[in-house]
């Protein structure tokens, strides 16, 4: 079609319109042709089928938007029993307790140096079962399960961090109690929670009472495993239990027994210091309701603080204890240690369920 030299506009606009129409249809045709080529090429090269999916797959992965379930249609909070293998020690750890385990496992964080020091200090005198039992901390670290984290976590006080271990190591120092308390490292409640006096013979009971407070908790019906200076129970209570368990002759034991001051036998300063700290601190137990975890905020720790510096920013804020840069003394995992001693537990595995209820 030769382009003719005719005026485009004028009284008769049909020609202009016709031209516009031509141009428009040409453009549309070209665009369609391009699409045709694309499809043609895809079919010829063999990748046209890639776009296909079956209806079932699409239905399977559809997003669910209903209250009470997540986008997969699953009910909340059903993931309590997930486990994972620690890359360091290869043990199977409950997922919600992996972080505290890893901290100890790797020897990082604030507690590990203290634990290590303590281990070194008492390493000379300790039998193997002691160190095995120390590993039990991981199994007993149920304080930081998912549910608990939701509640307010004020900084815990520096209490009892050493004393349970102190008495534990002392038990072994004496050598006699190694067998009375079951030395199976994987029975959680044995070494540091409470002792059921019914299962022990009279001699064992006597030996126990030389080093432990021994007052039977109404709550769990077990003997308190703390020292004679245990603040939760009075001397009268201790006297009474000895009277009850061992007869009138037992009354002389607690006073005459140097073991009452068993704490002081190791002369290293750390034990002394930790004992002093333990005496002053209040009592918290994991079986208490979560709200009572709001203990006094011992923000001024007795240990010197190490400022925590991050690599690129000084904003080490956040919902965390590291705010004040408390490097050395830590309060949180101490709680896990100390609370183990505080109230005898029935069985550690049950504790997560308590949190479920609290949730």
């Amino acid at each position: 079609m030769k382009m003719e030299e005719k005026p485009l506009s004028g009284p008769d606009n049909t020609r202009l319109e016709a031209l516009v129409q031509d141009i428009y249809s040409e453009l549309v045709e070209d665009a369609c042709l391009g699409l045709c080529f694309e499809v043609h090429r895809a079919v010829k090269q063999g990748y046209f089928f890639l776009d296909e999916t079956d209806q079932d797959s699409i239905k399977e992965f559809e997003i669910v938007d209903q209250p009470g379930v997540d986008i997969f249609g699953q009910v909340f909070n059903q993931w309590k029993n997930k486990e994972c293998e620690c890359p360091n020690c290869k043990r199977l750890i409950a997922a919600s307790r992996f972080a505290p385990h890893l901290e100890k496992c790797l020897g990082m964080g604030r507690n590990s140096s203290r634990i290590a020091n303590r281990r070194l200090a008492s390493n000379n005198n300790i039998s193997k079962s002691e160190s095995d039992q120390e590993d039990n901390d991981d199994l007993n670290d149920n304080d930081w399960s998912y549910g608990a984290e939701k509640k307010s976590k004020k900084r815990r006080s520096d209490k009892n961090q050493n004393s349970p271990r102190r008495s534990k190591s002392l038990k072994h120092k004496n050598g006699e109690l190694g067998t009375s308390i079951s030395s199976d490292p994987y029975k959680p409640y044995n070494y540091n929670t409470g002792v059921s006096y019914e299962s022990l013979g009279p001699n064992e009971v006597r030996l126990l009472l030389t080093t432990q407070c021994g007052v039977i908790s109404e709550h769990t019906k077990k003997m308190c495993t703390r020292s004679h200076r245990c603040p939760q129970h009075t001397d009268d209570q201790r006297r009474a239990i000895r009277l009850y368990l061992l007869g009138p002759s037992a009354l002389t034991l607690p006073d005459a027994d140097v073991g009452g001051d068993c704490f002081d036998v190791p002369t290293d300063g750390q034990a002394l210091l930790s004992r002093m700290q333990w005496e002053d601190s209040p009592d918290i137990s994991p079986s208490d309701s979560a709200s009572s975890k709001a203990s006094t905020n011992h923000s001024d720790s007795r240990r010197p603080k190490k400022k925590k510096k991050s690599a690129l920013s000084m904003n080490s804020g956040g919902g965390g204890v590291n705010l004040t840069g408390v490097g050395s003394s830590s309060f949180q995992s101490n709680i896990s240690l100390s609370t183990k001693k505080k109230k005898p537990k029935t069985a550690a595995p049950l504790v997560p369920s308590i949190y479920d209820q609290l949730n």
Binding site: K308, S310, G319
Partner: protein
């Protein structure tokens, strides 16, 4: 010979066929503008010159109708009227090229064919033309190779990610106060560029041991796109981060922002295998010029100008940054008033409900000129003495992903607390007023800059928000992430639920992640 080609092409591939073909493409198919076409024609072979000027069918004179050019001789014929077919039959010239899209037609096969060598030339010429036209690189969709096609055919089970699909979303188990890590992981896995990088397997690991964080990141993306519904347990990630960023190690509640920076740092360090090699094949190991994916996505440049009050000489430094930490009103450092003579009005259309602070306000404060005071005199190179000065921060280069950190946790000497002031942030953000270039034009007297709607360089879209609930000592992190353009999801550790845009914009906001809207090829 490719499967879609044909044997008849072989007859063509003789003598100087490549050059001839190129000329055809250059002159008649993709010659850019008419101007370039004319110019090209003048440069090319004289024999083509006359005919090139009149690109019409030799038989009917039409210049539309799907004009084709014979590959063997100088002949144009239209397709619709079969003129090119006649020519092919008469002269036994079996190949012709469509002048509109460059497809090659074989008259023996009676179909368009796709020969690898011919297509190669076509692509090269097309790129050249685009460059001439100023378009630069254009996006082309992925095409599988022969081998890949085979693999795909053998594995027909595929998941298509549609808009209503859960693939790409997954919960994360809390390992014990690790909600801060979970939120950052959610934000990173929903960063589009990062996702594309890892899903296309671009990381080439050069670390001998098993402790490469980038590999673990890659694995994380595989987990997220696996289609599994149960939440993922990121214990390996935690382990790796703690081993490589010792200052973070320790079981306690931590700051999400701190974790982000540490994670980016470790990823950046481990990305050594992916740096761009220069022309000699050597790796550009310059730490200031790292080209790893982390730097490409997250690194921006912050320009700091210190102006001497006496001689008005300006000393400029540019520092790289991964995030922008913004002070909030209510902190011990004064927030209001903003800079004198600053931009007024809402730049980004945020809601100014009864004086609530907006993100733009915070940015304006961040980029305001600050008088350093007589106690902080700077040695001026011009005056050769200590003088008072003003300092101003602006953005020299914006990263593809801009992370804004609202400084809600105050640790001054007197108090430690969380600032819970509501800061409204927009879905779309224009960073133009805060750029160094804008500042320059402002100083040159152009005060009221009209917002250039067509300039897309500095436009950002929100895609992830990390929130903190609770107090300074203890709290919980959750995040909102964006998937499929307009769908938002709330990520609370293992629980992923759908969220509305209103939920997102009404949330307190602690870390805000914005993604550049338009990405250009370099």
């Amino acid at each position: 010979m490719s499967p879609a080609g044909c044997s008849h092409v072989n007859g063509y591939k003789v003598d100087n066929w490549k050059q001839n073909l190129r000329v055809i493409y250059q002159c008649f198919v993709w010659s850019g503008t008419a101007e370039t076409r004319r110019r090209k024609v003048l440069q090319s072979d004289a024999g083509w010159t006359d005919l090139a000027k009149s690109c019409i069918c030799h038989m009917c004179g039409a210049h539309l109708n799907r004009l084709h050019s014979c590959l063997y001789c100088v002949f144009f014929g239209c397709f619709t009227k079969k003129h090119i077919h006649e020519h092919a039959k008469n002269k036994r010239h079996n190949l012709a090229i469509d002048l509109l899209y460059g497809g090659i037609y074989c008259f023996v096969c009676q179909d368009y064919i796709y020969d690898k060598d011919l297509e190669q030339i076509a692509k090269e010429e097309q790129r050249k033309a685009w460059k001439l036209q100023g378009i630069g690189e254009k996006y082309t969709t992925w095409e599988p190779t022969k081998r890949e096609l085979e693999l795909l055919r053998h594995n027909p089970k595929r998941r298509k990610i549609t808009t209503n699909c859960t693939i790409g979303l997954r919960g994360l188990i809390n390992l014990g106060n690790t909600c801060f890590m979970n939120c950052i992981v959610q934000a990173l896995t929903h960063t589009p560029l990062l996702r594309d990088f890892f899903l296309s397997d671009r990381h080439k690991c050069e670390m001998q041991s098993n402790s490469c964080l980038v590999c673990e990141m890659s694995q994380l993306f595989q987990e997220f796109y696996s289609g599994h519904r149960s939440p993922h347990i990121p214990f390996r990630l935690l382990h790796l981060v703690w081993t490589h960023a010792r200052h973070l190690a320790g079981y306690e509640q931590q700051d999400a922002h701190e974790f982000l920076i540490a994670a980016l740092d470790v990823l950046h360090r481990h990305c050594k295998g992916d740096t761009i090699r220069d022309d000699n094949g050597k790796k550009t190991n310059n730490p200031n010029h790292c080209n790893c994916i982390i730097d490409q996505i997250f690194t921006g440049g912050l320009q700091s100008d210190v102006t001497c009050q006496v001689c008005h000489g300006v000393s400029t430094t540019i520092d790289p940054f991964w995030d922008i930490s913004l002070d909030l009103p209510g902190s011990s450092t004064p927030f209001w008033p903003l800079s004198p003579g600053g931009d007024s009005g809402t730049v980004n259309g945020e809601s100014h409900l009864s004086g609530s602070t907006t993100l733009t306000d915070c940015l304006r404060r961040f980029t305001r000129p600050e008088h350093l005071g007589s106690s902080a005199k700077i040695k001026c190179g011009g005056c050769h003495s200590y003088q008072e000065s003003t300092k101003q921060l602006t953005m020299k280069k914006l990263p593809i992903v801009a992370c804004f950190h609202l400084k809600r946790f105050e640790h001054s000497a007197k108090l430690r607390r969380k600032i819970t002031t509501y800061v409204s942030f927009p879905l779309e953000l224009d960073m133009t007023p805060f750029m160094a270039s804008s500042k320059e034009s402002r100083m040159n007297g152009q005060y009221q800059q009209s917002v250039d709607i067509l300039n897309n360089d500095n436009k950002y879209s929100l895609f992830a928000v990390v929130n903190h609930q609770g107090t300074l000592e203890s709290g919980h992190y959750t995040s909102f992430i964006r998937q499929h353009k307009d769908q938002w999801f709330k990520c609370d550790d293992a629980i992923i639920t759908k969220a509305s845009i209103k939920d997102v914009l009404d949330s307190e906001g602690y870390l805000l992640f914005y993604h550049k809207q338009f990405l250009e090829y370099e």
